[in-house]
Point group: C2
Chain length 367, copies 2
């Protein structure tokens, strides 16, 4: 029992990424050197730790043995399955991305074709990366819509045929490890907190501005799904202005399933970026609409930061500047509003983080 506790603590310290000596590690964890040695032996036996060559010439005395976490002991796969693309990231246990892949999907594809394309992309990505399927310890996938705890897409207007599909079960057939499915905006929030603009913020909201604008939240450092996985769907309230955001920008109603820039949204945003007065007015109007929904979320959660990403932010900072100007006065707190630094990789990276979180839970659980 005590041993498990100390193993976990030692592993945690090692996973920082360095290559500490035995004594450094012992001091950091607060154990004696012989104990640390024993723990390391056990961890090495489980394949989680390995000894590296001592650095001679570094100083006086006998060179210390150095150890490092074997990040290559296992891998996490993160997927971003959207209407138009599938994006994959493979990362080792340290979260270092060792491979990625991206394939376009046809918006019109029904779930079977879509899933087949995803499976093919997985195969290609793993082959290119040189990671065996058996080396995957966890897989996570992000998708638009409401996802239940058991991986079913309970509500989705963006991907045709997606609603009602048990994506977790479907994907699970391709893997022997656990597969997790989560709302895309939720994962984007995790990603921005992990290695994006919201690093280490405890409470973060992420707004993915696209055809349908979704909102995800990390609360108290943990992903917040809600009882039915529907947290963040403030877009359901029409007066909160998060529905049909592309249409609001162009004035042209956008059919479900069309590309977010299909109605000329990208063109409008680009023009606004060059101070075209008409385009600027359109962006301002859009921001005014969206500010209601974002402010509602911000008032409900009172997050440290609101991260804005999604297709509509790719063209430049205009929309975000406008949102910042219009959301701020609606809020009680000095919440920061920032552009995503991960761009369209946010969801995939967030999926990797989710998979790694699940792996960590197993790695560090005591029971």
């Amino acid at each position: 029992m005590l041993r498990r506790l100390n193993s976990a603590a030692t592993l945690r310290a090692l996973r920082g990424g360095g290559e500490p000596t035995l004594s450094e590690l012992a001091k950091q964890v607060g154990l004696s050197r012989p104990t640390t040695e024993g723990v390391l032996g056990e961890l090495a036996g489980r394949g989680l730790v390995t000894e590296v060559a001592p650095r001679s010439g570094a100083g006086l005395g006998r060179p210390a043995r150095r150890y490092r976490f074997r990040a290559e002991a296992g891998y996490a796969l993160g997927l971003d399955i959207d209407a138009h693309w599938v994006q994959l990231f493979v990362a080792d246990l340290n979260g270092e991305v060792v491979g990625s892949y991206r394939a376009d999907l046809d918006v019109g594809w029904a779930p079977p074709e879509r899933l087949a394309a995803v499976r093919a992309a997985v195969k290609t990505c793993l082959a290119a990366t040189g990671v065996e399927r058996s080396e995957l310890w966890a897989v996570a996938a992000g998708t638009p819509g409401v996802v239940t705890a058991d991986g079913e897409v309970a509500f989705c207007t963006v991907v045709p045929g997606w609603q009602g599909l048990n994506l977790g079960r479907e994907l699970g057939r391709s893997f022997t490890c656990p597969v997790y499915v989560e709302n895309d905006a939720n994962l984007a929030a995790m990603a921005e907190r992990w290695r994006g603009v919201a690093e280490d913020a405890d409470d973060v909201i992420c707004v993915l501005a696209g055809l349908h604008t979704g909102v995800g939240a990390v609360i108290g450092g943990r992903l917040h799904r809600g009882r039915w996985g529907a947290a963040g769907e403030v877009g359901m309230l029409p007066e909160l202005g998060l529905r049909d955001t592309t249409a609001a920008l162009t004035g042209v109603p956008t059919a479900a399933g069309r590309a977010p820039d299909g109605g000329g949204a990208a063109a409008v945003l680009a023009a606004a970026q060059h101070d075209d007065p008409e385009a600027v007015a359109l962006v301002e109007r859009l921001a005014a609409r969206m500010s209601r929904g974002i402010a509602a979320m911000a008032l409900a959660i009172d997050p440290e930061m609101i991260v804005v990403g999604g297709a509509l932010t790719r063209a430049g900072d205009r929309l975000i500047d406008e949102l910042r100007r219009q959301v701020r006065p609606l809020c009680l707190s000095p919440t920061r509003i920032e552009a995503s630094t991960l761009g369209d990789e946010a969801v995939g990276i967030g999926a990797v983080r989710l998979a790694l979180d699940r792996i960590d839970e197993n790695l560090f659980k005591l029971d």
Copy 2:
């Protein structure tokens, strides 16, 4: 270290409230009998555990020694400081309420008079209960408005002069134990989760319908304050209809600081309860307004249950029935909407729970 772990586990098991025998306890915790005996000796030394008389005649064999948690080793004090009243609850470490007190406060009182009245109420309550001030291990107070982490009332429109006051520091002068201050709706949410209608729900929202309608949230079983303590203040958005709720009901603008039934709100609600058509229409209109804000919160958090309490719900179920009817279609999830079962005691009981939570953290921390 291991001893602390086992002490905490044993204490946790004992705190269930029963009077287990040594062997029962050992089996429950998963330790051997001699170990449990040693742990109990240590806990008894700290005054947390005491032996009770064995029950002879209960069965065959030598009667087992029985132990119980000494709930009377310390006490928690919970306060509900509102514009019109202060309510107090004293509870032992098991959460059993051993004393309570309530005093009316004048709405017009400035902070010094108000605080003096609170202090007097505390003195009266403790004297009547027979609990010494030194026996208090933690004090928590609920108040309308936004409360920062260090106990300052950052925003409050209901209690005159309250805004800018550091309530935590002021109250702290009267006690030697830690004093915590929290938003009233947040505490009501905790109370309903503890021994109200939302027992053991992980994600709960509590709506306190009054002059200003506040919303509090428990997320993942933990109170959610937000970065600046302002979580739940969706009432700030005018289109969400949680401001001036009393005025909306009566048609008469309510001056800040007036009693929530001063404008006849109680009369309207009572009439609606007896199916007066005009009153029913007014309640329906109010529910329509409020449903926006409640739905926004529900969509943002996706809680398991929404508990509705506050002054406007005292007259009967009419408003809640109406809210249930109007909020439901705006939500994605089958969230339950229920009336508070704690009534106007919710905030005070929630304050007790918060104080007990803080005590528990100290009791069970390992460091």
